[in-house]
Symmetry: C2
Subunit: 768 residues, 2 copies
């Protein structure tokens, strides 16, 4: 088994984000390749750090994952040699250190040292497993999930923030060739409390003798088709019924493989290999879950994590382990799985390079699925790369700990299909834009756009099979995945050209528009400004219906104003006006959406109006490009141009600092308020009006978000399904004003306990 | 699999032992056949009661054991039909009840009811298992043992009397096709606390697919030859060394069968089936012991019994389970095994016929190995029949709870070999006697003596392989087994003729001898009487050296007196004389030995002397015939003849009741003072002098016995090995007087707690 990733050391320019220089790995910051390796009985797992070579990555670092068969340790060594050799081209380290764990760290110590010319520092296996697990649980969104096929939605991610007190004590059942069970208590103390020799090696070993299948996947495929009751002796086979007195159902397995010996020798050949496969899979899984449960009981532990390469994200294994834990615990405990289950030890070894926890604590970590390890397999939980990103934080004005960005629960298979289809159907539009971007940049290698199309479509295929493979499916996640794929394939701001053109036109129109507005009677202004915001928001290349009109040049600002109707259900502008007239607000934040008419003709005049009411205004724009959304850099440039001809804006921005521009830390058309840039969060501490604009930010996400201060959501239904679901019509504009629920004390104190440690997932994170 | 026992309903006369009529099943007492059946997933186990048809059995009842494959339930039904049919010939029960348990009790309920025309009463499986286990633990000597091949003597029987408080709580791990784990607490409450589907069915099923072996025994044979390290991945294979930090040795199995998958597919055929067998055996055993240990920890239980047909007394299985428990518990807990391990449920079901516990409590149960189930197998722990016998009890004058009848510890393999050889070499003498007995009784079927020879020799072969197969090997056990085999083959009192002849001669001599003694000066009498006892004790057909002399007519009373020398080491007659002269004794018991000169010329004059010192005398003789030992019936007849010519004996026996004859409850040349008849025990409560006579009773056994009153041991070394071991010469007579250690209070109170419940093993018991 070799890696699907290739180490790519081609140089590339890295966007400088000066604000994060102190916490992210900045452009000129160069870390040598760092490697953590966990050599088990069967597999050698490798985690290594690489400098981020992608132009659109915000930071300099990335963690990569791969594995080799221990039997072929030479291949693994060749691979590591290559990594180190490439790194040596730029940094020559006299004493390069390899952090190694697992039994092979001892066994192959000398070999690694000699072949790689590195100092092999052996780390304790159990410690590495737990270091890796703790890192994943705390840093990676949607790492932990439960799995049960008896539920409509088998895979359920653990979303609730877990307090440290709730987390500890826990046990980790690490299933490799053999099994180790480790208990971890609050003080970080860990103890190997047991193990079992009945592990992955046992199942694969027996099945390789008993069936024609010779790879893990073949065996798992076989077991999916099998019926264990043809091989196993069930309680019903013995009792002819339930043994209800002691709670054994007739379908309970009384004896694994118990039907085989009862047959005459000559008939034993007739057992089907798929039935045997399923029987043995159940045997190993049930047994492990029983031992794990007993250990958990004995140590009074409620949380049982399963890790190790045995699981490999396979539904049948996870379901079986889950079933076991449910069965033995009578439903009181759920088995917890980890998406990076196989890499705990290697990740732990890698992290030992960073003995200094503070260094880790300064960074955020976010998963990037563009090159998910299992994109070609049937596995349901994919392992992506982990990008090292600036630390993000919770938006301080969210009311509830139960905040969840996504408006729509895509657990309905029909809805899942609809959205995946939608993204699939319209993929070609993105490809066209990407091609044209290549063209504009005089790049002739059109393979990249093909790769982008291929890779995104492959992900969509994975999601068709297992919608929650990358965390819970949402429109937001589909959008982010698309952006990630674009960036991973080397595309920059593919709407650059469109945005430039629209900006130019809009800025030409703006002076006149401002004059008209200033001339309106005071009591009519607000209504017109809101109409303009909604009309401007029509200029959305990300909305498929609108994209066509825009491409054909069928839309201008005036036609947009006619097209957009006021929503009957979500339009309470008068309430907002009343609050505004009472001079209740001192500082507003506006999460802005598209470039062009939207920002220039819609938002800037509206912000100018708020400023005129003595309200400070923060404009919060994306850090990274995404469709035709206005980026922080775009916005700075626009505002600077506006200051040149509009005094109120110039005064507010340049003289009084009452108009401010911040970046959100995001690169998504949606808005996850659990992860905004720390600077924005800080600037918003005393905000008393939150305004969110656009379909992605105020409909797909945050439609139900509640704030501790008043809020206003402005958007247009540009998707029929969304309109229908929320009870609107196509091209209805919403103006949804909601009073804040001011229970700051509770909301804040509760959050501050946990969000810093738990929820600082990265800017590319589409989940947390 | 069919039974090795055949149900034998041929009628025969049953010895009437009037004294036990009330507690044993007397001659005319007729119980219908009672059957308990436990139908598991693979095996149907049957326990049934049968009327004892053997002439020399003391009582009317016997429990028999057999099993069938559940797959062939028809064979089992045929067998039961036969039993019931035979029984119907004598007792016609309108509503015959079959007690059934196990899953099949439900599944085959209708079938059993229709085919056997019985009322099938289904009993709860877990309850039956525990009822059976408790019965065995409490009633059957040497039922429970530990096993560890790392000890010089792997099989160690649990001899210490276990208080109820120590016994409970315990868990039973019942390993059949699948596994049930049951916890039993003091109040008799039982709970199935868990189980496992990895049981016997799993091992046999997998091995039947993976090896050419197709029977249990073939598989176990294979596994004995195998090396699991060729198949299993050991800690050392991964680490290259111990993983000492967490206490894993390099030889610990990290992954069962973990080396298989690492090989290339084409090389996997090369794994040896014996190695795979051993690996899987370890896998199942280690896993079960781990689960059992975890359950024991969880429930704070110290005693773990393993039962069920998986174990089948096979050393490799027991050793592996034991090793597992030792390993997981770090040596704090030992696995406990049961000789009747496979019959717990069936026995429990059988006992449900006797809902009335009082009825059970009145009886003693003793194992009889003559038809041990496994005489032809390599199994080490044989399961015999269980005879229902009168209740026996502890001899009340024993000093210590640590009393053990056997003088010689036969754990030395050389000593074991010597005694087995001795019994083997001299077997022909018994066969000759048996033939001559057949002849005297005009019985011409000499096959019986051949069968006796065959069966005893077979047992000796089993014991050569596994000396402790039937409980700890001792001279006593070899002697009893020989007697049991004789009786089982239908032989009665084969020394009847010899005894009659010797009695006649001795009685002719007695009057004259008594006159001579009476004429002696008072201070010379005792010495002469003791000389006579020792000379008389030479007339022992059970002692091989003497047997030859006796057969050739080379020995008479006078020549015997010359032959017997006083032991230098063990002859303190003067001390006894001093105590006697102080008139310290009021009641003596003499455990007598041989018929003929021994009892008539040795013991009777000595008893007469004690009577003359105003000491009441109890003569305690065997209940059942055994070599030329005087039986209770023999002794009654002798005393009655003596009363006809000797006034002191007549007065003491017939008028004042100062001379009494009791039976011991035994049929052995040895004496186990933990099991004497209740009447004798009661009569001895106020005895202040215990006299034990003979090599079997005072040398092979009881040589080291200590009493709370004074005691006198009288015997002659008639075996060179015994003489050498104890430090004497051949034909040395010993007269060993020991002062009692009068700590009655403690000794009695301690005993009364336990001996009634625990140690009432039967008269044929050679162990307890």
């Amino acid at each position: 088994m070799s890696s699907r990733f290739t180490f790519n050391a081609t140089d590339a320019h890295i966007i400088e984000l000066s604000k994060y220089r102190q916490i992210a790995f900045p452009k000129n910051y160069r870390k040598p390749v760092q490697i953590g390796i966990d050599i088990g009985g069967s597999l050698a797992k490798v985690v290594w750090y690489s400098q981020n070579t992608n132009s659109y990555a915000a930071t300099g670092g990335r963690l990569n994952f791969t594995k080799f068969e221990t039997e072929n340790i030479d291949k693994c060594i060749e691979f590591l040699k290559e990594i180190i050799k490439k790194d040596n081209e730029t940094i020559n380290l006299p004493h390069r250190v390899l952090k190694a764990t697992g039994g092979g760290a001892h066994k192959f110590n000398k070999l690694l040292n000699e072949e790689l010319n590195v100092i092999v520092e052996t780390e304790d296996e159990m410690e590495c497993l737990i270091t890796g697990l703790n890192f994943l649980v705390h840093k990676i969104p949607y790492e932990v999930f439960t799995y049960s096929e008896s539920e409509a939605e088998p895979m359920v991610f653990e979303e609730k923030v877990i307090d440290e007190e709730e987390l500890y004590p826990y046990i980790l059942v690490n299933i490799g060739s053999g099994v180790s069970i480790i208990k971890v208590t609050e003080d970080g103390k860990l103890e190997r409390i047991g193990g079992s020799s009945l592990g992955g090696g046992t199942l694969w070993g027996l099945l390789s003798l008993l069936t024609s299948a010779q790879t893990f996947d073949e065996m798992l495929e076989l077991s999916k088709k099998g019926k264990n009751e043809n091989v196993d002796m069930l309680v019903g086979d013995i009792y002819g019924e339930d043994y209800s007195k002691i709670g054994l159902k007739s379908s309970t397995i009384a004896s694994s493989c118990g039907k085989i010996f009862k047959k005459k020798p000559e008939e034993r050949k007739e057992f089907k290999e798929e039935d045997i496969s399923r029987s043995l899979l159940y045997m190993i899984s049930n047994n492990l879950s029983q031992i794990a449960y007993l250990m958990a009981q004995l140590h009074q532990v409620k949380r049982i994590y399963f890790g190790g390469c045995f699981i490999r994200g396979h539904p049948v294994i996870m379901n079986s382990l889950s079933f076991g834990i449910r069965f033995w615990s009578k439903g009181t405990i759920k088995a917890l799985f980890l998406r990076h289950e196989g890499y705990l030890g290697a990740l732990g070894a890698f992290l030992k390079h960073h003995g200094n926890i503070q260094e880790q604590e300064l960074l955020g970590f976010s998963e990037n699925f563009t090159k998910a390890e299992r994109i070609n397999t049937t596995a349901i939980n994919a392992v992506g790369l982990i990008d090292i990103v600036p630390k993000l934080t919770y938006f301080p004005l969210i009311l509830s700990d139960e905040y969840h960005p996504d408006t729509f629960d895509l657990s309905d298979p029909e809805l899942q299909k609809y959205w995946i289809d939608t993204f699939d159907k319209n993929l070609h539009k993105m490809v066209d834009m990407a091609l044209s971007w290549l063209h504009t940049h005089f790049l002739t290698n059109t393979d990249n756009s093909k790769s982008f199309e291929d890779i995104y479509r492959k992900h969509l295929q994975v999601l068709r099979r297992e919608p929650n493979a990358y965390g819970p499916l949402s429109v937001r996640s589909l959008l982010i995945l698309r952006e990630q794929c674009l960036h991973e394939m080397g595309f920059g701001d593919i709407f650059e050209h469109v945005k430039q053109e629209e900006k130019r036109t809009a800025l030409e129109t703006l002076p006149n528009l401002l004059k008209k507005i200033d001339a309106l009677p005071e009591n009519e202004k607000l209504s017109v400004l809101i109409d303009n915001v909604l009309a401007g928001n029509m200029f959305d290349w990300g909305a498929n219906e609108v994209h066509n009109m825009l491409q054909k040049g069928e839309l201008n600002f005036d036609s947009a104003k006619i097209k957009v109707k006021k929503s009957e259900k979500y339009f309470n502008l008068n309430e907002f006006r009343e609050s505004l007239e009472l001079n209740q607000y001192h500082k507003a934040v506006i999460f802005v959406d598209n470039s062009g008419a939207d920002i220039v003709l819609g938002i800037i005049p509206f912000a100018r109006y708020l400023l005129s009411h003595n309200i400070d205004v923060i404009l919060a724009a994306n850090s990274l490009p995404c469709v035709n959304d206005v980026t922080y850099n775009d916005l700075i440039s626009i505002i600077e141009q506006v200051t040149s001809f509009d005094k109120p804006i110039n005064d507010a921005y340049n003289i009084y600092g009452k108009l401010m521009v911040y970046e959100t830390g995001s690169g998504s058309p949606c808005l996850d308020l659990r992860n905004v840039s720390c600077d924005l969060a800080e600037a918003c501490e005393n905000v008393d009006l939150v305004i969110i604009e656009g379909m992605g930010r105020a409909m797909h996400t945050n439609f139900h978000a509640k704030f501790i201060c008043d809020s206003l959501k402005l958007a247009v239904f540009k998707n029929a399904s969304v309109a229908k679901t929320l009870g609107g019509n196509m091209y209805d504009g919403i103006c949804l004003f909601e009073k804040g629920e001011k229970i700051i004390g509770i909301a804040k104190s509760k959050r501050s306990n946990t969000f810093n440690e738990i929820l600082e997932a990265g800017r590319f994170s589409f989940s947390c």
